[in-house]
Each structure stands twice: as C-alpha cells, then as structure tokens.
Subunit: 488 residues, 2 copies
C-alpha cells in the first residue's frame, strides 16, 4: 500500500481531536487511513485500495442478501436521453439541477443531450415497458451495482460526492400490496444488514411528503446518529406506486386479460456507508472497523528485539497461517523500517479490530498478547487456543461495537413535549428528538427554518397506547411520534 | 426471469442457422437467451440478468486471480479533464475521436470539458504522481472494475458497444524489467483464465507497432478464433515504459537517493468475453456455456405426465437439494404452462451444460436421465450416485469443450509460404494463417489493404530452429512467424 506521510514523523501526531473539530477529524482519518483522496475534478474522489476493500466487503455481504431474497443483478446504460427525464416532470425537477450533461460524442454535437445517470428509474422504466407483457412476467426483481453522478455544490468524501457508487433495486409487481410488501421487506433487510454487519444501530420509518424521493408515493429510510449527534440517512426504499409505469407505459395483461399499469419499487444504499462507519465508530486514534467489514481483521506485529527475524518471525508466520486457515483476514507487519510503536499507531489509524503482538518472551511462554481496537483491552492467550479464540473475540468485538452504538443512540434520543425544549436541546445537545407532529408541512418547515432540524423518519410502529399527544409546533392533536434531528 | 416471446410459439423455431448468417445468428441468440437488449441510446446495450450472471462469474473467477497475484481493487473518477488527455498527444489522438464529452453540470456551462473515461491511464497517472515518492512505495499494484465509454460508429452487442464493463489494471514499478515481468505475468494469467474457465483456446504474443495501444511501448494480447473463423482480441497487457510517468511526472527516489521516472503497465479484459463465449461455443440450438461460468449448471425438468406434481416433483426437489449441497448452481423448472419439450429447447437456448429429466418411470427405477448440452449424450444415472457423478460430468464437459475448441483452432490454423496462398485461403477458408513477416509496417499494411487480414500476434516463443524464412509479402529474410487473421 502506498504511503504519503513522511516516514520519520510519528504516525498519529497530526490528527485533529474529534471533539475539537469533527469535520477536520473526519477528513484527516480518510487521508491518514488511506481510504480516499481528492480527485482533480470538482467534488470527486478516488477510493483508495483500503477504502475500496471496505466497500467490497459491504457489497459482498449485501449482494448475498439481495440475491437470497430472489433478486438478480443486471446492468443498464450510464446515459439517459433528456427526453426520458422530461417525461416525468416531478422526477426531472428533482434531479435536473444535479445532472451532468453529455453534449458531444467524438467530433459530433449530439442532437439530444444525454444525462449521466443521477438515478435509473427512467432508463429502466423504458426497458421494463418492452419486457413486461403479462402477469406471468411479474414480479421483475432486478438490482444494479453502478456509479452515479450528481452535480453537487457542497461535497464531502463518501457522504456527498459528484460521483458515487451504489446499488439500486428496481422491481415491478402486479399489485400495490405486493409493491408495498417488497418496499418494507427491503427496508428491514437494510436495517438488519447495517446493524449486524456495520454494527450501526438505526431507526427506520417513512419519510414525510417533503422529504420523499421525486416521483415516489412513499419513501422509507433507515437513519443513524453519527458520533457528533447529527443524523445520517443510510438507505432508502421507495414505493413508486404506478407513477413511473404510467409515464413509461409499463402495462401487463392480468389474469382476467385486462391491461393494468404495473406497480413499482426502487431502493438503494451507497458508498456513503463507508462515511457512516468512520463517523459512527472512529475515535482520536483513527478508524474503528467492525470485524465483519474490516479488510484486515487481525494484524500480527512481531516485536523487533534482537535477532527477531530468526527468533520471532517464523513463529509469527505460523500463527498467520493458522489464523488464515480459520478463514480470517490476517496481515503480517514484518516491515523493518518501522518500530512496533509506529506500527501499532498505524494499524489503529486503519481501524484493524485485533492486534497480536509476539516477542521473544512470548515465544518462551508459548503465548501472545492480543489487543482489541475497540476497548484497547489486552489479553495474554496461549498459542494452543489462539486460532479457536480469535474468531470468538472478533465476534465479541462486533457485538460490543453495536451495543456501544445503541447505548450512544439511546442516550442521545430525547423525548420532548414543548417547542422551547425542542429548540434548546437542538442548540446544546444534538441527537435525535422524539416529539409529536401534526402531520402538516407548515409545522415541519417552521421547525426546519428555526432549528435546522428535519423529520428524519416517522416510525412505522407507533405505540398506539401512547401515541396521542400534541404537535410540538402547533399544539394540535397528533397520533404520530416522529424523529427530528439535524442531519448530513 | 422476464420473457418477451409469444408463449404459444415453439421456442427455437425463429433462430437463423449459424451457417446461413453468422451475424444474425449471433444477435438472435443474445435476444432469445435474454443475455442483452438494445438500449434506446445509440450503440448502447442493457445487460439482462442472465447475461450479467455470466459476467459476474467471470468477475468472480478473474478477480480472485488478480488478488492472488498481489493486486488490490480501487476506484478512480469517471470524468477526466480534457487538459489531462492533452498532456499526452499520442494517447489523445488515439482516443479523441471516441470520447463522449460532458460540457454542462446542472445549469452551468463547464469551463473545461470532461471526458467520460475511454480508459484511465491519464487520471490514474495523475494520482500516482501524488502518491508515489520513494522506492518504498513501489510496486503499486492496483486494479479497477469500471464502466468505459467510447463513441463507436459501428457497434455490436458485447463485442463493441458505446459503453462496456471491464477491469483495468494499472501498476507502477522500479525498473523496466519488473514492468515487463508484470506485463507478461498478466498475459499468461489471462491465457490460463480464458482457457480454463471459458474453455476458449487462445494464441498469445505481442502486437505489432501498428496495433499497439496508444502510448504503450509494447502491447501483448491473447486472441481466439471464433467459430466463423474470424479472430477476436480477448485481452491486452501493455508495458507502458516511462511514457506516462514522464507526462504525469511520476517519480520516485531510488535506493541511491536519485529521482527516477517510474515504469508502468496497464491491462484489461471486458464484457466482450461474453460475446466470445457465444461465438466460440454456440450452435443452432443456442448458447453452449462452459460449466465454470454458466449461471445455471444443471436444470431439472420433471416430466409432466399424470399427477406429476404429486408423484414426480417431490423427488425432483430432493435431487435439487442434494445437488445444491454439492455447491452446484441448479435450477428447477416446475412451470406448469410449458411442455417438457418446450423447456428442453429453452434451456438449450440458454446453454445450460446439463439437463436432468425425471419422470414416473425413472422414479420407479430409482434413476434419472442426464443429457449433456455440448454433445447431447444421454445417460441413465442411479439416484444413489447422482450427486457424486454430476460434478464429474460437469468437469468432463468443461474439459471436452476446451478440447473441441482446440481441435477447431488447430484445424483452422494454416501455415503459408506464398502471398498467393495467403490470399486464396483468406478468401475461402478464414481462420489463422501462420506466415513469416519481415517486421515492416509497409508489408503489414499492404496485406491488410489487399486481404482485410491483420497480424493478430507475434508469438513470444519462436521455434529458433525453424523460425527462419521469407516474408510472405516482400520475400525478405524473416525470423518471425506471425498469426494473421481477419478479425472483429
């Protein structure tokens, strides 16, 4: 892996403490852990090998879930003719300000501008109209892994970039009920995926009309609290109703030989999830990766004392081989030009969940020192049980990182009755605020204007007993408790 | 999977015989096997789930090899500023006629046009210059899976499309020797991959100066004969020398503290490989897929006689479960609206290597009928040994498809001494022609002009004993036997 730091400088000295400047801390981790770099094009980034390896693990684990629920992958064109976007006014208005336009191909000026896909509903809808004729062709359950371009004004690596990578599912169904079922199934698949693999607890629910995807009849989302108390949208699942099927003429003959417009959904998560990992788990020493998505789960650092290459390294290599046989992702750091201390800092910066230290004395005593990245707990483990214990410790780390996250989320979720409390908490403490809301956009917008907070989700399961109160803004009766937060 | 054929029509009746019109046969297979469809943008295609699943298998098998040889994946921007391409005249001239240009972002006119990447040497070179400082940072071994856009005039699905998917490796080394070693290692990796996984025999060697990649000091390629006798370039590996490192200023401090320009390589294969699978193995009944990359390796068709759902289906499902436990990709075709005959044709069209038929009589006799797609051989196999025998048969199919291919290649490779023979064979028989060539572009161009054939490769290992003859064109002394062919 290439490095751009001065080798003589101590590794972590330059990182800004998280508490001092969260944004600066965030981009410094990205640079120092070599997750990504700024590209020489406005708002674009390069995902470096270490960052991309995290994305590959995310892809692998999510793709399996997408396929296990009956979906297949496909690939649709990068370019969408302008006229396709124009067919759907709402959708166009939502995306037009963000579209990058191709106007020339080779030497020729194009007759019609081509949008570099900001999302693929239009181009996919056009193909579905061709493919779908009868109820027998349904459901269509297709997903695509692709790059997306949105001409963003303000960008930040992984969170909002001109180009990003994502998966977008696009499904077609016979009935509204089926489409709704799919939308909610994906919502809970996303929740389970993010919580169990990324160790990030989320709240889920529907978006308000104001926050809905351009063209959807219902948008659901999962949202997580980052460690600075701001919310981040982690994934969305849209019930598109018949909106696009009417625009693109996706019709099928039903079982009674009647032509019907089909019902659709779309859903996606993106490389933003890598940003969420940094902001949820990281600390002043750098990244902290959940073992499930860590490119390196265990790093072995031989202690370089005396003739370590002869006395320590062979044993360290044995351990490496053993652990790899357990299916673990292991890295051996046998570089000569760095001290063990330097290596410890570097691998902490990279968020490797578990470090194994082995020196001459350990070898004599037939044990190693094992250090957890999340809690920094140290434990001496006998060599005879190491390959059995290491996977267990990784599982514990995964579990305890999620628990930590959940504790943080609960501590930073506050129920509020009055508008005054809402405002004062948002000024001082951030986090989620649970409050009643009457359901009107006017109240939602007033709150946003005065506090910068938005309604992140309306939870699907409201406590029917308790969910009757007064709107925190206008005081009218309400039966919906919602989550407010300042958000990325 | 969605279908667009009329369900009452017999499945295969519409396909044009391969011998009658190869091009028509090719695109009909793509449509009928639902590999891809034309997109509503000039020269672009949609890769449908079945076609994409083949690509996913290719990706999986090749990615493993790329990683096992020490490379990591990363992701670089889709857009390349025009000034970057202009830095390298040769490269720009090679690609400028094929570039799609982004000139507008949102509402604003861009100050500088952005190329949608036609290949990534320029943007990656720019980043490498930033990352590489010292010999300690080398080698850099990075690969990228990405979409590529080239504004092609004449397109054909999978073979040449305005957008395609590929992997592109970009490596940096301390010395020319190391770069050359990498270039050749990848060439042989590609050859081994294509021959063992796609069951397509290839010839490999260097390209002539005329056919070289724009900016490379040496280009190597693997080439295969399609079943119409035309050659297809299957993958290329370029030694870039210091060409791009001088343009993009990629320098490193060597072990003696001298600044040196780095040595680079780049290499790639693309979705064109799916086209190669069709054209190498397909026949008048459709696709014929090698088991290693077939999305479905075995299809089970229960014979629908009498009360088959009660008498046959449960046993068929048992078999499905057993075979899946062996790690095989198995599909059960229990659709009610189609006859077994229809299903047979459909799965033959889709190239599934092995079909298992099971009817009431088979169940009584505790056996099934197994039919190979490649040879159409039928074999009765006892249920007790099926899950042991099926993987063996698949391995045999893989081997025998490669052997068939090799036989075809050898039968269609002809040694030629005179220019007259070269011309007459190219007119009547196609295939590879091995002939001596003096090494001069004038002869190469004369042959191309008069026969449409080009030099596909100059084999690396020339038979030193025999490799002394006269140039087939000018008659001058030559020590290089080369492969000529008409090519896609």
């Amino acid at each position: 892996m290439e490095r751009e730091v001065n080798k003589n400088e101590r590794f972590v000295t330059q990182i800004t403490p998280k508490s001092e400047d969260f944004s600066k801390w965030y981009v410094e981790i990205i640079r120092r852990a070599e997750l990504a770099d700024y590209a020489p094009i406005k708002g674009m980034m390069v995902i470096r090998p270490y960052g991309y390896a995290i994305w590959e693990n995310i892809q692998y684990l999510l793709d399996k879930r997408i396929k296990d629920t009956g979906h297949s992958n496909a690939y649709f064109p990068l370019f969408i003719p302008e006229s396709f976007l124009e067919k759907e006014t709402e959708h166009l208005e939502g995306f037009a300000p963000e579209v990058a336009w191709v106007t020339q191909g080779g030497k020729e000026e194009l007759e019609e501008r081509l949008a570099v896909r900001p999302t693929s509903e239009a181009i996919i809808g056009n193909m579905y109209a061709k493919w779908i004729k009868s109820w027998r062709d349904l459901p269509v359950l297709i997903n695509q892994w692709a790059n997306i371009v949105r001409w963003e004004k303000v960008t930040r690596p992984f969170l909002r970039t001109t180009e990003f990578l994502w998966q977008e599912g696009h499904t077609v169904h016979e009935t509204l009920e089926e489409a709704e079922k799919e939308t909610l199934m994906i919502l809970s698949l996303y929740k389970e995926f993010v919580e169990s693999e990324l160790a990030i607890p989320v709240v889920s629910g529907s978006k308000t009309e104001r926050e809905r995807f351009a063209g959807a009849s219902e948008t659901y989302a999962i949202e997580a609290l980052m460690s600075d108390g701001k919310a981040l949208q982690m994934g969305t699942s849209h019930n598109l109703g018949q909106h696009f099927s009417k625009v693109f003429n996706i019709r099928f003959e039903d079982k009674n030989q009647n032509l019907q417009y089909a019902w659709q959904t779309s859903w996606g998560v993106s490389t933003r999830l890598v940003g969420a990992l940094i902001m949820s788990h990281g600390d002043d020493s750098g990244l902290k990766l959940p073992p499930q998505v860590a490119p390196v789960q265990i790093v072995i650092v031989p202690i370089s004392i005396g003739d370590w290459k002869k006395n320590v390294l062979p044993k360290a290599r044995d351990i490496e081989t053993q652990l790899k046989q357990e299916g673990l992702r292991v890295e051996m750091d046998d570089r000569e030009e760095f001290t063990p201390g330097w290596k410890f800092s570097e691998w902490e910066m990279k968020g490797v969940p578990l470090r194994i230290e082995i020196g001459p004395r350990d070898i004599k005593e037939n044990k190693v020192l094992v250090v957890r990245r999340d809690t920094r707990e140290k434990e001496s483990i006998g060599l005879d049980v190491l390959s059995q214990k290491a996977p267990e410790i990784l599982k514990n780390i995964q579990r305890s990182m999620f628990k930590e996250g959940l504790k943080f989320q609960l501590e930073n979720t506050r129920k509020v009755q009055s508008y005054e409390d809402l405002k004062s908490i948002l000024e001082s403490k951030k986090g989620f605020i649970k409050a009643y809301w009457c359901g009107h956009t006017t109240c939602e917008e007033k709150i946003k204007e005065e506090t910068m907070a938005t309604i992140r989700v309306v939870p699907l399961e409201q406590d029917k007993q308790k969910a009757q109160g007064k709107c925190v803004c206008c005081g009218k009766d309400s039966d919906a408790m919602v989550y407010f937060a300042k958000a990325y």
